[in-house]
């Protein structure tokens, strides 16, 4: 139906009826209740609690306004947590993108038994973060592991070792997302490129990758957000150590869930919010574009 027709039809009817509004309210209330109770109210609470500093180990709180935000968001502890999170993102995201493209390009062809390879490539989807962490703990553990390396106990390599488990776990997700993108590239485009004498590498770099760039962008955002929210890997593999070298921002926030540190924790959480906000904003733009195309 054309847009004009739809507009006309809409105008013919009365704008709202009381019955429809009542039904809509009844249908929306369950979701809204959850969102208010567990999303908006806690967030407002966080903003508010951030203005209180604990005194005498949480016995009472003193209102300090924005001073606590200023102090804590510039504290070395917060910066350290942020740096560790960024480190984790820097290790996992490029590797995730490259592996995703490699796996998808390799498996996106008509060959005998390709289904088996596709199943293998996406199999890491079956592994949760906790399961993956246990697997890698016993691969890398310095005493009881398979490889018996000291990566998890050396402050310089601990974050890399933690990232390794996530890189492996994300392979399945990256693979199916990039593959979905490749399957949407029309055959004719690649045929035309082949006839124009483009070799495989040139076709990949000049045609395939630009064509699936929205998908890669989406994957990038998903991986960055996953990276910023990493917690279970650190909790199981290193417990934040050695010497706090793997304490990510979320790990620190989780540790601050105590009555005497709740003010600082609130400030950290608000900081994390603004960082994820920037990343999620990009995601939203992409989601909107998708909606536009889908119509």
């Amino acid at each position: 139906m054309s847009t004009a027709g739809r507009l006309l039809r809409r105008r013919d009817r009365p704008r709202y009826t009381a019955k429809e509004i009542a039904i809509a309210v009844a249908l929306l209330v369950p979701s809204i209740a959850v969102f208010v109770a567990f999303f908006y109210r806690p967030f407002l609470n966080l903003l508010y609690w951030g203005t209180f500093e604990s005194r005498a180990n949480g016995a009472f709180f003193e209102r300090v306004g924005l001073r606590q935000y200023r102090e804590q968001l510039t504290s070395s502890d917060f910066r350290e947590g942020l740096w560790h999170s960024v480190q984790f993102v820097l290790y996992t995201v490029p590797a995730g993108l490259v592996l995703g493209i490699l796996l998808a390009v390799a498996a996106h062809r008509r060959l005998r038994g390709i289904k088996v390879f596709q199943a293998i490539f996406s199999s890491t989807l079956a592994s949760s973060v906790a399961v993956t962490s246990v697997i890698f703990l016993y691969l890398l553990h310095p005493v009881v592991g398979v490889f018996r390396v000291d990566w998890l106990t050396n402050p310089d390599t601990a974050m890399f070792a933690v990232s390794l488990s996530s890189i492996w776990q994300n392979m399945g997700l990256s693979f199916i997302i990039v593959l979905a993108g490749l399957q949407n590239v029309p055959d004719e485009v690649m045929e035309a490129a082949t006839l124009d004498g483009y070799g495989p590498v040139r076709r990949l770099l000049r045609i395939t990758l630009p064509l699936i760039s929205p998908v890669l962008m989406f994957l990038l955002v998903v991986l960055v957000i996953f990276g910023l929210q990493a917690f279970a890997q650190v909790d199981i593999l290193t417990g934040g150590g050695p010497a706090g070298s793997t304490e990510t921002l979320v790990f620190k926030i989780n540790r601050l869930v105590r009555p005497d540190t709740i003010g600082i924790g609130a400030v950290y959480a608000v900081g994390l919010f603004f960082i994820t906000l920037a990343v999620t904003a990009v995601q939203f733009v992409i989601l909107e574009r998708r909606v536009h195309y889908a119509r």
């Binding site: 969102f35 989807l125 016993y138 199916i176 869930v257 906000l277």
Partner: protein, 441 residues
């Protein structure tokens, strides 16, 4: 997304591309038969290209599989202290005779027998060119004989293999070889009609190696029982199942009704309310954790199922996804059902939901996956070991005794098993759900 349609954009070798050969012949499925172009001098290159592609695939697959392989080996290897104590290779379940019908005794023997029989029947059926839906080729006397005697062979030998590996005796390899040889002989009978002759021989040996190994790994290793018992996985898995069920049902229902309101009803401030929904995507649990834990404390819900379920009873992602699905319902259907006298609820449950079933199915599976895999929130609101979910239970198992590598890993694999089954059963829905944001359709 047409997941099953393999679109062909594969890379031919540069030589082939330069020669301007049609791609489907360069890469094409071998079963299409030879054409004039492939018989010529380029067929050697073509084979080389194919070998290269498979080599690349195998290298990449090993990247994925190596951690899993090592993990399996470790789960089935002696736990660390066992080395020094000179204890058996791995403790195995040969004591079913002492157990009751339901607690690992007779019942599990029946299940094991059925699984082995099914595996053998499947192999025989595959060799005969049949499928599970068309089992007719299996009915030939030779194949039935292969399946039945194969089961008997495994039953006879399995106990001996398990026994000898428990004692770490030198007899173990010989029992293994004997089991494989006897099983291969029984399977050969079923494959015997295949030509050339090497085919049934190779098939029989491969099948018997695979079936023997899988039976011993899956049923012989007591490490699975130990992981379950010592890790106390029963209650943890039960709790995980419960909250996964509740969260999934709640999310699907709230998302469907909210999506219906957004897609089919007219009410004031609709855009604003929708923005209110979508904005919750900006507030991930990691941000609100601190305050949510406080809320749960105030409600007195620490260590309760309510704490694990209610914060996840609604989701903007699901609402968005299902609303998109509802938008695909033709307006004519809506108008027609209205004329037929269906109210809003009638239209929703009888027409809108069935018409958007693929989207809803995808979301359901994704919601279940997410609920099962949760970690941060359960560990924040559960502080009593008795109420842990399976995922956070894993950390306790690791933390109690890190040297019991095989038991901890067995527990981890048991926890991953339901997701693996979900992945196998609903791979299409999962892929569609996970890529929903990435590509249209």
């Amino acid at each position: 997304m047409p997941a099953d349609v393999a679109v062909d954009v594969a890379e031919p070798t540069p030589e082939e591309a330069a020669a301007g050969m049609p791609r489907d012949r360069v890469l094409g499925a071998p079963e299409r038969g030879l054409t004039a172009a492939t018989i010529g001098k380029s067929s050697g290159r073509r084979t080389l290209g194919l070998v290269g592609q498979y080599a690349a695939l195998v290298v990449l697959a090993s990247l994925v599989l190596i951690p899993i392989g090592f993990t399996l080996i470790q789960a089935l290897s002696p736990p660390f202290p066992y080395f020094d104590a000179g204890k058996p290779l791995h403790p195995v379940a040969v004591d079913w005779k002492d157990k009751g019908w339901l607690d690992g005794g007779g019942f599990s023997v029946v299940v094991r027998t059925l699984v082995v029989a099914f595996a053998l029947a499947w192999i025989q059926l595959g060799a005969a060119g049949g499928r599970l839906r068309h089992p007719a080729p299996l009915a030939s006397p030779r194949r039935l004989f292969a399946v039945v005697t194969g089961v008997v062979a495994i039953a006879v030998f399995a106990g001996q293999i398990w026994q000898s590996s428990a004692e770490r005796s030198t007899a173990t390899p010989w029992w293994w070889l004997a089991a494989i040889a006897v099983l291969a002989a029984t399977q050969f009978v079923g494959f015997a009609t295949l030509r050339p002759l090497w085919k049934p021989v190779v098939l029989a040996v491969l099948a018997s190696v695979a079936v023997t190994a899988c039976t011993v790994v899956a049923f012989g290793a007591a490490v699975w029982n130990q992981g379950w018992d010592r890790g106390n996985l029963g209650p943890a898995l039960g709790r995980s199942f419960t909250i996964t069920l509740f969260i999934t049902v709640a999310q699907v229902v709230t998302s469907i009704v909210a999506a219906y309101a957004f897609a089919f009803l007219r009410f004031p401030f609709k855009t604003l309310v929708f923005a209110f929904f979508m904005a919750t995507l900006l507030l991930p649990l990691e941000v609100t954790l601190l305050a949510n834990v406080q809320t749960i404390r105030e409600l007195g819900w620490i260590n309760s199922n309510a704490a694990l379920v209610f914060p996840f009873a609604a989701t903007a992602f699901g609402t968005f996804l299902i609303r998109q699905g509802f938008r695909g319902v033709p307006p004519e259907v809506h108008d027609a059902t209205r004329l037929d006298g269906y109210g809003h609820m009638g239209f929703l449950w009888r027409f809108a939901v069935p018409l958007t079933r693929p989207v809803i199915a995808s979301f359901t599976v994704i919601a279940a996956l997410g609920a099962w895999n949760q970690y941060l929130w359960p560990q924040a609101v559960i502080d009593d070991e008795r109420f842990q979910t399976a995922q956070i239970r894993l950390k306790t198992i690791v933390g109690t005794d890190i040297t019991n590598a095989n038991i901890a890993i067995a527990a981890a694999l048991i926890v991953a098993l339901p997701v693996l089954l979900l992945l196998i059963a609903f791979s299409r829905q999962i892929i569609r759900g996970l890529t929903a944001g990435a590509v249209k359709g």
